[in-house]
C-alpha cells in the first residue's frame, strides 16, 4: 500500500505533533447562542480538557462558509493573545487540512499551540441543507450553469455522482442504507447525539425521497453547535493530563482533476480519496489494514461509502458490501463514526468525527458505561442499545474528510 510519493507533510514530522485537547458545545436546534458564543464555549471546553489556560494558547484557526465568527473575537473573549491566526473559507474537509497547517506554523516558529474551531448555527441561521435565504439569492455568472437548473444544495450537487456508483457497480440502495443503520446504532450509545434512535434498512428506504438516490435518512442532520481541537508539539502534549493523539500523517484538500468542475473528468464514482490515499498512507507509514477505526465523513450515507472504498478499505466497487457486512459497526472489523457522525450526532463539517477518534484512542469515549473510582468509564464492550461504544484496543484511527466528490482531506492518528 505504501509508495515513495513525495507527500505534503514531511515524514520527519510523523508523530511529532498531537491533538492534546478536544471540546464541543451541546448539539442543538434553536441554540439561542451566537456563533461567537458557541465558539467560545467549545474552545473553553477543549482548553479544560487539555488542562490549558488562555496563556498557553497563542494560535487559532477556524473555517466557515461566511456563516460564522472570527478567531480574533473568540480569542479576545477568552483572554487569549494570539501570535498567529487565520480564518479560512471551507466546510467539510477543513478539519484535517487545518491540523496540517497548525503543525506547519508551529514548526515554522510562528506559535506554539493552536486551537482549531468550527462554530455554526446550521439549523437556526444558515441552514446546511441549503434552504432559507441563500436558496433565493440572485444567481450570478458561473452559478448559472448549476443553480439555474435547481442544482444547488449539497445533496443535489452530489447525487449524480452517487447515482453513477449504483449504475457502475450494481450497488443497491439497501446496502448504502446500512451506513445509517450502523451510525444510528452508535449514536444510540452516545448521550451527546442529537438523534439517538436506531433505524433499520427498511426505515431508511421508506423515508421520503429528497433527490434520487437520497432518501431523507440518507442525509445528515442540521444542528447548531461548535467544536474545537487543540494541536501542539507531542513533547508538550505529553506533559498534559489527556493521553495525546499523535498525528501520523495528514492530507489537506486534495483534489480531483478540474477541482470544482470535477464532473468533467471521470470516472464520476471515483472521488478525491483516490488521489489523497497516495499521500495519506505514505505519510502515515501504514495502510488501511492497520487502521482500527475510521471517521469517514457522512454528510450522506454515500459519502462515507465512497471514501472508504477510494482510500482502499475495500476494493473499488465493493463499498456496498463493505458498509453492509457489519465491518463498520461497533464490534465489527473497523467501526466507522462511532459517535453517530453527521447522520446522527450532529453536523459540524467534520470536526466531531476527529474529536470522537481522539477520545477513542484515549480509551475515554463517553457512553453509558459505569464510571470507575478514578473518574474514567469502565467499558463493558457490550454494544447493545444504550451500552458501550468504546472500540477495544483502539491504536490507529483514520479520518476521511469530504468537501465534494472533487476534494477531500484525511488524517491518521495514533494512540500516544
Amino acid at each position: 500500500m505504501t509508495s515513495d510519493l513525495d507527500a505534503t507533510t514531511s515524514k520527519g514530522l510523523r508523530n511529532r505533533y498531537a491533538i492534546c485537547g478536544v471540546g464541543e458545545t451541546d448539539y442543538m436546534r434553536g441554540s439561542k447562542y451566537s456563533t461567537r458564543s458557541l465558539a467560545t464555549w467549545a474552545v473553553k471546553n477543549a482548553m479544560d480538557d487539555a488542562g490549558l489556560t488562555a496563556a498557553d494558547i497563542d494560535g487559532m484557526l477556524s473555517y466557515s462558509g461566511n456563516d460564522s465568527t472570527f478567531s480574533t473575537f473568540v480569542a479576545g473573549d477568552l483572554g487569549i493573545r494570539l501570535n498567529f491566526y487565520m480564518d479560512v473559507h471551507g466546510g467539510g474537509s477543513s478539519t484535517e487540512a487545518l491540523v496540517g497547517i497548525a503543525t506547519g506554523v508551529i514548526e515554522a516558529g510562528m506559535c506554539n499551540t493552536v486551537a482549531i474551531f468550527r462554530a455554526m448555527n446550521g439549523y437556526s441561521q444558515v441552514r446546511i441543507g441549503g434552504t432559507g435565504a441563500r436558496s433565493a439569492a440572485p444567481i450570478t455568472g458561473d452559478q448559472i450553469h448549476m443553480r439555474a437548473y435547481g442544482w444547488q444544495s449539497a445533496g443535489q450537487m452530489f447525487a449524480p455522482t452517487f447515482m453513477r456508483h449504483l449504475h457502475d457497480y450494481g450497488t443497491t440502495p439497501a446496502q448504502v442504507a446500512a451506513v445509517k443503520v450502523a451510525h444510528s446504532k452508535h449514536a444510540s450509545n452516545n448521550p451527546k447525539a442529537y438523534y439517538r434512535k436506531r433505524y433499520t434498512v427498511e426505515e431508511v428506504l421508506a423515508s421520503r425521497m429528497i433527490c434520487k438516490p437520497l432518501h431523507l435518512l440518507d442525509c445528515c442532520v442540521e444542528t447548531d453547535n461548535a467544536t474545537c481541537i487543540i494541536v501542539t508539539r507531542t513533547e508538550r502534549a505529553r506533559d498534559l493530563r489527556p493521553r495525546p493523539a499523535l498525528v501520523r500523517g495528514v492530507v489537506g484538500r486534495c483534489c480531483r482533476p478540474r477541482a470544482d468542475n470535477y464532473y468533467q473528468h471521470g470516472p464520476l464514482a471515483t472521488v478525491a480519496g483516490h488521489y489523497a490515499k497516495d499521500l495519506l498512507w505514505p505519510n502515515a507509514g501504514l495502510g488501511p489494514s492497520e487502521v482500527d477505526l475510521t471517521g469517514s465523513y457522512d454528510a450522506f450515507t454515500f459519502t462515507a461509502m465512497l471514501q472508504l472504498e477510494d482510500y482502499g478499505f475495500c476494493a473499488k466497487g465493493e463499498g456496498g458490501d463493505y458498509v453492509s457486512n457489519g465491518a463498520i459497526e461497533l464490534g465489527g472489523a473497523r467501526p466507522n463514526n462511532t459517535s453517530g457522525g453527521h447522520l446522527c450526532e450532529g453536523y459540524t463539517h467534520g470536526m466531531n468525527m476527529v474529536i470522537e477518534n481522539v477520545r477513542q484512542l484515549r480509551g475515554e469515549v463517553d457512553d453509558s458505561c459505569p464510571i470507575g473510582p478514578d473518574g474514567a468509564p469502565e467499558h463493558t464492550y457490550d454494544y447493545g442499545e444504550g451500552g458501550c461504544r468504546q472500540v477495544r484496543g483502539a491504536e490507529i484511527s483514520a479520518n476521511l474528510g469530504w468537501g465534494t466528490p472533487g476534494l477531500g482531506s484525511a488524517m491518521v492518528l495514533e494512540r500516544g
Binding site: D142, R147, G150, M163, P173, M209, Q264, G266
Partner: protein, 173 residues
C-alpha cells in the same frame, strides 16, 4: 450594465467583467451552442473558463458544437430547495456527455453539459416523460430565453435517435 433577467422567478445576472459567460449565453440566445476551443490543445471545454485545463493557455476561439449527446448521470429532485422550483418537482437534472469530444483527451472525460429535462418547447417535462429517461438516453439541446442576450441550454429526448430499451434508472422499490 450587468445583464439581468428573470427566469422561473429567479434573478439571473452576468457582470460586465464576466466576458466568458456573456459570450456563452449570448450564443445560446442566438440558438448557437458554442464552446471555447483552446488554440494550443485544440480541445473544447465546458463550462466557460479563462484558461485551457490541458495547456493552461488563455487563447481560445468560440466554436459551434452540435447539441446532441447521451445522459451520463442524473438526479430526480422530489424535495425542492430553491423557492423557484417548489411547483416544478419532480424535475430531472441531467449531466449529458456531448457526442463531440466524448472520451477525449482521456477515456473518462467528456463535455458533460448540465440541464433540466424539458419538452421540445422548453417546458419542464411531465412525470410520464421523466419516467422514460435514465442513464443512456439520447437527448438533444433546446434553449430557453431568460432575457435579450441570455438563453440557457436544456435537454429534451431525441425522438429521432435510437434509444436504449430501457435506459438505466434508479431502482425504485
Amino acid at each position: 450594465m450587468p445583464l439581468r433577467g428573470e427566469y422561473l422567478g429567479m434573478t439571473l445576472t452576468i457582470d460586465d467583467v464576466d466576458e466568458e459567460n456573456r459570450e456563452f449565453f449570448r450564443y445560446c440566445h442566438a440558438g448557437d451552442f458554442r464552446l471555447q476551443r483552446g488554440r494550443k490543445s485544440g480541445l473544447l471545454r465546458y463550462p466557460p473558463t479563462t484558461a485551457c485545463p490541458w495547456t493552461s493557455d488563455r487563447e481560445s476561439d468560440w466554436v459551434s458544437v452540435e447539441g446532441k449527446g447521451i445522459v451520463h448521470t442524473y438526479t430526480e429532485v422530489r424535495h425542492p430547495i430553491q423557492p423557484a422550483f417548489r411547483d416544478l418537482v419532480p424535475y430531472l437534472i441531467l449531466l449529458v456527455d456531448l457526442d463531440t469530444q466524448k472520451g477525449e483527451p482521456t477515456e473518462h472525460e467528456a463535455l458533460r453539459v448540465a440541464g433540466n429535462l424539458v419538452t421540445p418547447d422548453g417546458a419542464f417535462a411531465p412525470p410520464e416523460t421523466i419516467e422514460r429517461v435514465g442513464i443512456g438516453t439520447r437527448v438533444r439541446m433546446v434553449f430557453v430565453e431568460v432575457c435579450e442576450g441570455m438563453s440557457i441550454p436544456h435537454w429534451t429526448i431525441d425522438e429521432e435517435a435510437e434509444q436504449p430499451d430501457p435506459p438505466w434508472r434508479y431502482p425504485d422499490a
